[in-house]
């Protein structure tokens, strides 16, 4: 299958935005009384990424001017994803605009909007994964692990971006639990991704035995696991012991590695989309 680059870019942007909002919500949950300009910066980044994600998703369509038709069939996972992604983007942009208008002190008062954004984001993640997990015709996609992979992908990208944007400024009582949370997500993601890679390989081998031409995914899997997951595990693990200034640069490198890994994962996802034989 050819790789739909605008769609893949849209998933990365939207996923990062949702992840960022989720970690922001986690930060807010840890210390609800903490107000700082850094929150405004995070929300601006999340809003810009979400809007860009929606734009790239629309650019994927053959008829961009008919994009509203996307919402016409609630039984379709794609329609549901459109609804949730629209709700998430709307809530995030509105949240940012209201904070911009009322000042960062209003962040506590506007928390319900944040919870709505988080719920819409979670819905977007689930629908995004189910679009693929429900495709029975493509056996490598037809697994709920695809949903988990999408959720972890967004949480990792958003998490490391959160650390890069806030790492030096947030107080220890917020940043330390967040780093621990991201580290745990990274470890679980590593396990889920390795399990999924094994499953994909077994499925592709079975298809190859039926005479179907299957792609070689060894290199892209290596990039995905080693650069995208193992290097960030090492860097984040090390950051627990280093000074905050050094940790900040480690976060930037880890974010770059996670981004490379997630781009590889998206390419692998579409490369592995092989249908079984007709006869």
């Amino acid at each position: 299958m050819h790789i739909p680059y605008s769609l893949a870019t849209s998933y990365l942007l939207l996923g990062t935005s949702i992840g960022l909002v989720m970690w922001f919500a986690a930060g807010r949950f840890i210390d609800r009384d903490y107000n700082h300009q850094v929150w405004s910066r995070i929300l601006l980044t999340a809003a810009v990424l979400a809007v860009l994600g929606v734009i790239f998703a629309i650019l994927h369509l053959g008829h961009t001017e008919r994009f509203m038709n996307l919402l016409a069939n609630p039984a379709s996972w794609l329609s549901r994803e459109g609804l949730f992604a629209g709700a998430f983007t709307g809530c995030t942009v509105l949240y940012f605009l209201l904070i911009k208008r009322s000042g960062v002190e209003a962040v506590k008062r506007l928390d319900p909007l944040l919870y709505l954004a988080v719920l819409a984001g979670l819905g977007t993640f689930i629908c995004m994964g189910m679009i693929y997990a429900s495709v029975q015709a493509i056996p490598t996609w037809n697994t709920t692990m695809v949903v988990l992979i999408d959720i972890f992908s967004g949480l990792l990208l958003g998490g490391f971006l959160f650390l890069v944007l806030t790492g030096k400024e947030l107080p220890g009582n917020i940043i330390k639990p967040v780093i621990t949370g991201i580290f745990l997500v990274l470890l679980v993601s590593l396990i889920v991704n390795i399990a999924y890679d094994v499953q994909v390989r077994m499925t592709l081998s079975a298809l190859a035995a039926q005479g179907v031409t299957v792609p070689s995914l060894t290199l892209i899997t290596l990039i995905r696991v080693v650069i995208g997951l193992l290097v960030p595990v090492y860097l984040l693990g090390k950051s627990f012991k280093t000074k905050p200034e050094l940790a900040a640069s480690a976060f930037s490198i880890a974010l770059a590695c996670v981004l490379i890994g997630e781009v590889s994962a998206k390419i692998m996802h579409f490369m592995a989309a092989v249908k079984g034989p007709l006869f």
């Binding site: 994009f67 038709n69 996307l70 069939n73 429900s134 495709v135 005479g211």
Partner: protein
């Protein structure tokens, strides 16, 4: 009882001439590079036909694959715009004026029937020549098949030729394990 139009393909009669493919392209103005009716050879390819087996026990057969007009069509469930729909007569049709070109139908169809037309920005698929049926004519592939391998009719009408053929001979559907309940059936 409502109608349930279906194409019944007699693989014993098909000679692999691909007249159906050409006739369909001409009738429906199918774009270059796409085909609504694909005729596969024993190797599962569309070109370079060659027999299977070892001389003198050689075998040659073809399998024409139009839309399977499934009762449980995954493309209809997946289509976010509602452009893919099932008509009352059982035909799975695509309303190109509603299609947004998301290509989700291309992914979900196990038969690779919907194809994306990059020029028009929409999907394209067999609709059993619905425009001809509405005027009381049969699909172009049925009309033009020189060996009469493709039959068309109402499966819900027990007196129709297709209903009798399906009842009298062993028929199969493609990929029954996918659970799509195709109405297009193959006689062997």
């Amino acid at each position: 009882m409502s109608k349930k139009y279906a194409l019944i393909i007699d693989t014993k009669r098909c000679v692999g001439c691909r007249t159906c493919t050409v006739a369909c392209k001409m009738e429906n103005n199918v774009p270059l590079g796409l085909a609504r009716m694909r005729v596969f050879n024993p190797q599962g390819n569309l070109h370079f036909d060659k027999p299977i087996g070892v001389y003198p026990n050689l075998k040659m057969y073809w399998t024409p694959v139009p839309c399977q007009h499934c009762d449980n069509a995954p493309c209809i469930k997946a289509c976010p715009s509602g452009a893919m729909h099932k008509r009352e007569d059982g035909i799975v049709d695509l309303d190109k004026s509603r299609c947004i070109g998301c290509q989700y139908c291309v992914w979900v169809c196990p038969y690779n029937v919907p194809q994306f037309d990059p020029e028009a920005g929409v999907s394209d698929k067999c609709n059993m020549c619905a425009q001809r049926l509405d005027q009381g004519e049969e699909p172009m592939c049925v009309l033009c098949c020189p060996s009469r391998a493709i039959k068309f009719g109402d499966l819900n009408d027990p007196d129709s030729e297709v209903a009798k053929m399906v009842n009298q001979r062993s028929s199969k559907v493609l990929l029954p394990e996918q659970g799509t309940s195709p109405t297009t059936q193959y006689l062997f």
